[in-house]
Amino acid sequence: MREAWAGRARKEKEEEEEDEEEERAIMSKALYRAMLKLNVGKIIGYASGNALYGLLLTTVYPSIAGSPAAAEIAGSFPATVKSVFGVSDEADLSTFESYISGQFFSRIWVLVMSVYGIGTAQSLLADLLERGFLAYPLAAPLSRREIALTQSAVLLTGCATLTGVTLLGVTWGCHRQGIGISLWRYYRLGILGFSFFSALASYSLFFSAVAPGRGQALFWAAGLTLLFYGLDVVAGLSDKFRWLRRLTLFRFFRPQEILTGQSSTRDTLILLGITAGMLVLTAEGFNRRDLPV
């Protein structure tokens, strides 16, 4: 009898300790788990799509690399076309790094990750607010900063997973095809990619937190991303417009340069700084606004 009582008391104490841990936390574990579960299907879908596309590109690469005509065609593209596809002028298109950057990392990957980042940022705050579900986290003893931080963590978890799985797909494909690559450079690309996509997702989350409605949040985030993209493309078309590159976030994400060992750590740090700044602004904006749920 006494043992049973002691066992129960111990269990209650453990549960109390768990509760205290939740109280001390800066984000809600329960909300994080629930939101991640809600998004896991989307993450798996995007991740497998990215990885399979990367795998496909590495699978066909040996046949392209072996064909002199393909290299000739690639070399014949005007500089403006290369710019639109994110391939640097000086790049030797016959290398795998040029190929994978032009075919995937510079544009398609960015496009897919932008759609993921903007969409998920809307679904984590603006959408839940408009649907009224946020009433439940807001009615719990969590500060609004904790809620915003938890949703940010879900968003960043998705970005990290997608970046990691994509690069795993590409590097595994290279290993299978016997394509020689520097793993360290792909690892650095992963960090830069995560930083870039996080920055993009974090300003989308900021709009999601402060916009009066889901429509506006989506419009502002997609609009700003398109503006950045447009500036990057136009800046590459002519030397006259090259200065426009200074105004866009895309200037920090040059996959081909990092894969050829030319990029600096400074870009990654700047992007991480933008992410951190935007997440602080998100928490503050969310903390101050009316939430009519």
Partner: protein, 308 residues
């Protein structure tokens, strides 16, 4: 336990609340009555700290609703007016999320199971497959399982069938007997009549009156439905009603009519003395009629109490 001091929040559309002041004492049940768009939900959002007042302050358990919102939630069980749940979650997942966000109290888990059984909620089912009433019951469980000191409930029985409404009234009475404080907005007058000690009546964003249920019951007018023999008789009755103080025509259907009597019955009896009365029935105005009276004639009927 709950206090509003000159609470004001007016939206650009002109809707909202202005200068609300009221107090709900510990262990008291307070009904907040008013039609759609009168400001009930805005008041509840202000109490929960979801929106910031333009002026005035709200306090729950001594905490400022906006500034100390997280502290307020430690003692509050909340049920939103519109139950909006994530369709892909199951009922159990939703309740576990609520428990987790409230610190996962072990005792609440047992209460949850008991409530799910009492309200007959198939909690393993995905929420997307649940009816509106079932979702409402899930919402009720999520508020009550936490065993809070204060309940803030926005139209809690909306969507519940009569049997469940009865169960809900029992649950409120049980919580009241345990000393809990309850603030609820409602359209369901029978439940308010049975459960609440006080009622605040809100009209166009302003608090028209706060009265005790006893006062409201006392202020009930007597209503008489009447059928007279001819149209001429009906005309004479209506003419008399317009002339005599304390009598009022509530409903006019030609030879059939409903009259309200405030005070003594003698004037009515004198008026009917020369009239061919075919049928006369008396009925007491219920809370709903008193409430509607407030909207038609702000100064009459129930308005004899603490108009603010």
């Amino acid at each position: 336990m709950i206090k509003a001091e000159g609470l004001t929040k007016v939206y650009s559309s002109g809707q909202g609340v202005q200068g609300l002041s009221f107090r709900v004492r510990e262990g008291e049940a307070f009904a907040f009555l008013g039609p759609n768009g009168s400001g009930k939900t805005t008041t509840i959002r202000l109490l929960m700290g979801f929106i910031r007042p333009q002026s005035g302050r709200a306090f729950v358990h001594g905490w400022d609703s906006w500034r100390d919102a997280a502290k307020v939630k430690e003692v509050t069980g909340y049920l939103p007016g519109e139950i909006s749940l994530l369709e892909t979650m199951s009922g159990v997942e939703f309740l576990n999320l609520i428990l987790g966000m409230h610190g996962g109290q072990a005792r609440a888990r047992k209460t949850k199971d008991r409530l799910l059984e009492r309200l007959a909620v198939p909690a393993q089912q995905p929420i997307g497959k649940m009816s509106k009433g079932m979702k409402q019951k899930l919402g009720v469980v999520s508020a009550f399982m936490l065993d809070p000191r204060i309940y803030i409930l926005d139209e809690p029985t909306s969507g519940l069938d009569p049997l469940m409404q009865k169960t809900f009234v029992e649950m409120i009475l049980e919580e009241k007997s345990r000393g809990k404080t309850i603030f609820m907005s409602s359209h369901m007058f029978p439940e308010v009549e049975r459960t609440c000690d006080q009622a605040g009546i809100i009209r166009a964003g302003k608090l028209a009156a706060v009265q005790s249920m006893a006062q409201l019951r006392q202020s009930r007018r007597r209503l008489f439905t009447l059928e007279v023999g001819s149209v001429e008789d009906a005309g004479r009755v209506k003419e008399g009603v317009a002339r005599i103080e304390g009598l009022r025509l509530v409903e006019d259907l030609g030879r059939h009519m409903t009259l309200a009597v405030n005070g003594k019955l003698n004037p009515l009896l004198e008026l009917l003395s020369g009239i061919d009365v075919k049928e006369i029935d008396r009925k007491d105005a219920d809370l709903e009629e008193i409430f509607l009276e407030f909207y038609r004639h702000p100064g009459s009927g129930a308005g004899d109490g603490d108009c603010l």
